[in-house]
């Protein structure tokens, strides 16, 4: 009986796809250096899956006034970054609308994932901006967004 259960378990492990860990969002291994340098200097080089392809397109086309900053990227680098973001973009249906201009902190998915965070923390000087993933998710640069690994102890689960 034990053996059957074990066989069944191993069989399932082989057949079923591994569970999708939504708190693991590492950058794709072929992420272009231009993305890390151009986009990752002022803020985290965000996982492309956090916005839909359409919202990335709108973000890229508006870089001249990117939340008040001229973040324009020229020529080859700009094309490379746009192609990369669109290729690895998230599913628009699952993310929900990101607003206008698109903000990855305004998608329905982001809001749902963070609904337990009390309002006051968003204004905490340690956090500054909801897009400052690393303020709480200390492993964000490596793609670790686990709720067990939060740098602000009161928010850890």
């Amino acid at each position: 009986m034990k053996r059957i259960a074990l066989t069944l378990l191993i069989g399932m492990a082989v057949v079923l796809p591994p569970p999708a860990f939504a708190d693991r969002l590492p950058l794709p291994t072929n992420t272009p250096a231009s993305y890390k340098v151009e986009c990752g200097s002022c803020h985290l080089a965000f996982p492309p899956a956090l916005l839909s392809a359409n919202d990335w397109r709108r973000t890229i086309s508006g870089l001249k006034d990117h939340f008040g900053t001229d973040a324009a990227v020229d020529g080859k680098n700009g094309q490379e970054i746009a192609a990369f973001l669109e290729r690895y973009a998230g599913d628009a249906g699952k993310l929900g609308s990101a607003g206008e201009p698109p903000r990855l902190t305004q998608t329905a998915r982001f809001i749902r994932k963070h609904r337990e965070i009390p309002e006051k923390y968003w204004k905490d000087p340690r956090i500054k901006s909801a897009a400052n993933c690393e303020a709480c998710h200390r492993g964000a640069a490596l793609g670790n967004y686990s709720e067990h690994d939060i740098s602000i102890p009161e928010l850890r689960r």
Binding site: S41, C42, H43, L44, F67, G68, T69, D70, I127, K128, S129, A131, N132, E134, A135
Partner: protein
């Protein structure tokens, strides 16, 4: 002949990372001298520029808005909160070793904070201060 310093900078950018802050400063000094005979860079003027408050951007009125009051300290982007490594060469050996990167950030930050492009003289002074400050 006037384009020579710019050409040097361009050539240097192809061989990035092999530069020192002295070389990068020299390039700016050459450019400044071409505009103003007898120019000598001064760390004190560089420090004044670093601390000066401009009225162009209320979220980032000065270099210090993100880089803190001391270039020896790590900074934090005033809007996004992202950590910024120190500007001073003594605290961060990677500073001013890649002329393309230096030009890019003078370009962006001068426009955003000062509200115009910085002059070669200002860049010379700034790099001098960041190389000397202890």
């Amino acid at each position: 002949m006037r384009a020579l310093p710019a050409l040097c900078l361009l050539l240097a950018s192809f061989t990035s990372h092999a530069e020192t802050s002295q070389q990068i400063r020299q390039t700016y000094v050459a450019e400044a001298t071409a505009q103003q005979a007898g120019f000598t860079p001064a760390g004190k003027r560089g420090e004044a520029l670093f601390r000066q408050r401009f009225s162009n951007n209320d979220k980032m009125p000065a270099c210090t808005s993100c880089h803190t009051d001391s270039p020896l300290n790590a900074g934090q982007h005033a809007i996004t909160g992202k950590a910024i490594r120190p500007l001073a060469v003594v605290a961060n050996a990677e500073r001013f070793t890649d002329s393309a990167k230096v030009e890019k950030w003078f370009g962006r930050n001068c426009k955003e904070v000062v509200g115009r492009a910085c002059t070669p003289a200002e860049k010379s002074d700034f790099v001098t201060y960041m190389s000397e400050v202890r």
